[in-house]
């Protein structure tokens, strides 16, 4: 039996599952970490990114540029959304949830009315290669690499830039940050735009892997939300990474043995167990461990 | 130490990120004692109360109620064991009437006490509150709102009362009225622990005073001992 190939294949599955969860959830987590708001229009933002990339691609724009374009377009839309709608619901998390759901309904059906039920698909760029009995998609390897890159980029933004410093200050203590001269309104808008842009970029990146339809965002809703619940809001990056890895570690074996649907069910069960044991998510637990180590 | 402590904290510690809110706190409240806890702002007084009640879990240490370790008992469980707490920011139900406030309060710690009607009227009578008006509690004058919250807690029939700055915002008259009521309650057998800033109040009611500073117990003793100490005055004036 091709043991090496099997091991590599399982690792590959693990990495692709983790990358999928991370990319699907990162936009949501960025917003949640800053404003404690769950953006229920997240799936539709991803759809918007996919549509932008598809339209651009079919006009001859190279795919990588199309992805960047998606980021920009959806980020701008996100900024608009924050300014007009979401801003009024700070401090009212459940209200924000409901209102973003209203937005998602409008976006989803609006797209159906404007563009019709189908869009021409994008075929997966770059082919696949084989290792023994197992084949691997180059594109997914790229996605895994991009997921890592995005995390590193976000780490750099939050830890090494002035914006990141102000953002972290605002996350910890908005009143204090304001007193120190930080324009928290602009930070919120920028963060929402960043989260939206990431959602759009993820949607664009996933576009070649699925069919492009107005309600395509819905397939990402369940995995993204579970990832966010397990990760928690205490630390955006730690939560995103820790959660994706943990959930992939559950989904990969279950999915391989029992099938994709039961894999997703296992994710929900994992989330229920995690919140029972760590109500504030993995990131809160990791944060506590890190603090204890600093003290010693 | 002859009488065993009814409420005890052993080596309690709590951090919030980089802030040490409590460190190595050892406290022993005797039954029927009237204790005042004083200390400058940020000394950790409210945190201590939250730890004693179960709102926060300590990073280290134990809380004992009548000798029983209740550190892992949830807040509502400790209330059912006889603890009562009022908050630094008034937490009566501002949108509900006095009657509704007390009705909810009398049925709370139901495992402990019986005769809700009796406790309802008792709670009303303690501060002379009038339950006939249907107006929301937030329209009450501030001192009555404070009294309402204390009455609510009393309506549950507790043995131990933890009051976090009950006279904040009250006039000297109202403060003294509150002091007299607390003394009366203490005479009926209640153990009372009060966090306070008002020295006149402390002088009036306290049997024992504990001074908190930077999350640690700085000093403990009678009113006379504590008020005579130079170093206590220093920490209040911010020189220490």
């Amino acid at each position: 039996m091709d043991v090496l190939g099997l091991i590599v294949s399982v690792l590959y599955q693990f990495a692709t599952n983790a990358a999928f969860l991370l990319l699907a959830a990162i936009g949501l987590i960025v917003i949640l970490g800053m404003m404690n708001i769950i953006n229920l229009a997240h799936g539709e933002l991803m759809m918007m990114g996919a549509y932008t990339a598809t339209i651009a691609f079919h006009r001859g724009i190279p795919f990588p540029i199309a992805v960047v374009l998606s980021f920009i377009v959806v980020a701008l839309f996100g900024a608009l959304l924050e300014r007009l709608v979401v801003r009024r619901f700070y401090g009212r998390e459940l209200g924000a949830l409901v209102v973003t759901w209203g937005v998602s309904l409008i976006m989803g059906q609006g797209t159906l009315i404007l563009f019709g039920p189908f869009m021409p698909a994008i075929s997966i760029p770059a082919g696949s290669f084989a290792l023994g009995l197992y084949s691997f998609s180059v594109y997914w390897i790229v996605l895994i690499a991009l997921a890592v890159l995005i995390i590193l980029a976000l780490w750099w933004i939050y830890q090494r830039t002035p914006f990141g410093l102000m953002a972290r200050a605002t996350m910890q203590n908005p009143a204090m940050a304001r007193a120190l001269g930080v324009n928290t309104d602009r930070i919120y808008m920028a963060t929402f735009a960043l989260g939206a842009g990431l959602a759009g970029a993820s949607g664009a990146l996933f576009a070649p892997t699925t069919s492009i339809a107005p309600l395509m965002g819905q397939q990402f809703v369940a995995p993204a939300f579970i990832t966010v619940v397990v990760g928690g809001a205490a630390n955006v990056l730690a939560g995103a990474v820790g959660s994706s890895l943990l959930l992939s570690a559950v989904k990969t074996p279950v999915g391989l043995i029992l099938g994709a649907f039961l894999g997703t069910v296992a994710l929900l069960l994992t989330a229920l167990i995690v919140i029972r044991l760590m109500p504030d998510g993995i990131s809160a637990r990791l944060q506590a461990i890190a603090e204890r180590r600093v003290r010693r | 130490m002859t009488a065993a402590a009814i409420l005890r904290a052993e080596a309690l510690a709590k951090r919030f990120g980089g802030i040490v809110a409590a460190s190595g706190i050892n406290l022993a409240i005797r039954p029927n004692e009237l204790r005042c806890i004083i200390g400058p702002n940020g000394a950790g007084k409210s945190t201590l109360f939250s730890l004693l009640c179960g709102i926060y879990r300590p990073d280290a240490g134990r809380v004992l109620l009548r000798g029983e370790d209740v550190t892992s008992v949830l807040a509502f469980g400790r209330v059912r064991m006889g603890l009562g707490l009022t908050f630094q920011t008034n937490r009566a139900y501002h949108n509900l009437s006095i009657r509704q406030n007390l009705e909810i309060a009398t049925r709370g710690a139901h495992a402990r006490a019986s005769e809700p009607e009796k406790r309802f009227h008792y709670a009303l009578s303690i501060f002379g509150l009038d339950a006939s008006a249907e107006t929301p509690a937030r329209q009450l004058p501030h001192h009555k709102l404070q009294w309402l919250e204390i009455a609510m807690v009393l309506a549950g029939g507790p043995d131990i009362l933890l009051l976090d700055e009950p006279t904040a915002g009250m006039s000297p008259d109202e403060t003294m009225q509150t002091a007299r009521v607390l003394q009366h309650l203490n005479h009926t057998g209640l153990t009372i622990v009060v966090v306070e800033h008002d020295i006149a109040f402390v002088r009036e009611v306290a049997q024992v005073v504990t001074v908190l500073h930077h999350g640690r117990i700085f000093a403990e003793g009678s009113v006379a001992e504590i008020t005579a100490r130079e170093d206590v005055r220093e920490i209040y004036l911010g020189r220490a």
Partner: protein
């Protein structure tokens, strides 16, 4: 009897004056006499608007009275419907089949709600986790039901039917009386009314007051000795059963059910009805549910694709401009005008 009236006429819902009861009686009379001038088809439509009310009431109890938002109430709607289809379908020919099926449906809702609720409420999670997890649950249910096509997916001899759903579900039956057409309309009216009155008495009763306290200030309520987790779990199970009741009426109305009933769009509807009417008052929710279902039907006659957009826009508008809900805001405004002579006017609007 006096306590019963007191409970129904309590302060926790809209409408206590004589005027109100006069108006309410008139409306009930109209509903009762409807079959005199409405065709069976029209009565059937009205029955459809009515049968969604219990589910909305459950969400109102959970969200408006207790402060817990669930996006997945439709999961219990669907579970009860499918369970009834399976049980009653397998007991076809037995006159008590439908009754057993109904009780089975409600039992499944209660059990599932209890288990799910245990993990969520005893975990003492943050507020936003409940809507997310309940939504995920209903989405997974939809996915599961959607892939149950084929003969191997059956319980007893009732097929689950995959995306096409379950058909041929028996109508409700008590003894030899089969509820169809006009009788079913009365049946639905009776059950909806019973659910509404029960909920109304509940919120005015002592246990209901606890919910109010939890909504006002969770920490204060816990520090009065209440086990918040148990209260929330209790209401969650109630809401699950009320949703199940709507689900049962639905399958008994249409004799079919599909997985889309538990899908994303359907899941949003109860939230929309409750938000638009005003989640903190049961009557507001009952009225808005009826009205919005009527609106949805009217829209679907005119071209279905705009319905979600209009619903979404309506929801947006209400959340932005009438955060307490349209009907609740109107009722509060009316009360304020009535009391404007008295110097102290109680402002009972809440967001």
């Amino acid at each position: 009897m006096r306590t019963l009236i007191g409970l129904i006429n309590g302060p926790e819902d809209i409408g206590r004056s004589q005027w109100f009861w006069l108006l309410a009686s008139a409306v009930l009379l109209v509903l009762f006499l409807l079959p005199l001038w409405a065709s069976e088809f029209q009565s059937s439509n009205i029955a459809y608007y009515l049968l969604n009310i219990p589910m909305a009431l459950g969400l109102s109890l959970l969200w408006g009275y207790c402060g817990v938002l669930s996006f997945g109430q439709v999961a219990y709607f669907g579970m009860a419907g499918y369970a009834y289809g399976v049980i009653a379908g397998n007991l076809a020919g037995n006159t008590w089949g439908p009754l057993v099926g109904s009780l089975g449906g409600l039992a499944i809702c209660a059990a599932t709600g209890a288990i799910f609720g245990y993990f969520v409420f005893y975990g003492r999670v943050q507020n936003w986790i409940v809507p997310i997890l309940t939504l995920v649950f209903t989405l997974l249910l939809e996915t599961f039901l959607g892939q149950t096509a084929g003969y191997q997916w059956r319980i007893g001899h009732v097929q689950l039917g995959g995306y096409n759903g379950m058909t041929g579900i028996p109508s409700f039956q008590l003894g030899s009386e089969i509820f169809f057409g006009y009788p079913f309309y009365y049946f639905t009216l009776a059950i909806t009314l019973a659910c509404y009155l029960t909920c109304r008495m509940f919120v005015n009763a002592r246990y209901g007051k606890v919910l109010l306290a939890i909504r006002e200030d969770v920490i204060r309520t816990e520090l009065l000795g209440y086990d918040i987790r148990a209260c929330q779990l209790g209401v969650f199970v109630m809401a699950a059963m009320l949703s199940g009741m709507s689900g049962l009426l639905y399958v008994q109305w249409g004799n079919y059910i599909t997985p889309s009933q538990v899908g994303l769009f359907q899941a949003s509807l109860p939230v929309i009805w409750v938000a638009i009417g005003g989640r903190e008052k049961l009557l507001a929710v009952a009225i808005s549910t009826f009205a919005l279902n009527w609106l949805n039907y009217a829209l679907s006659q005119a071209g279905n694709e705009y319905a979600p957009v209009i619903m979404g826009a309506l929801l947006l508008a209400v959340m932005l401009f009438f955060p307490g809900g349209i009907i609740v805001t109107l009722a509060a405004g009316r009360r304020r005008r009535e009391r404007s002579r008295v110097p102290i006017s109680a402002n009972e609007e809440s967001t």
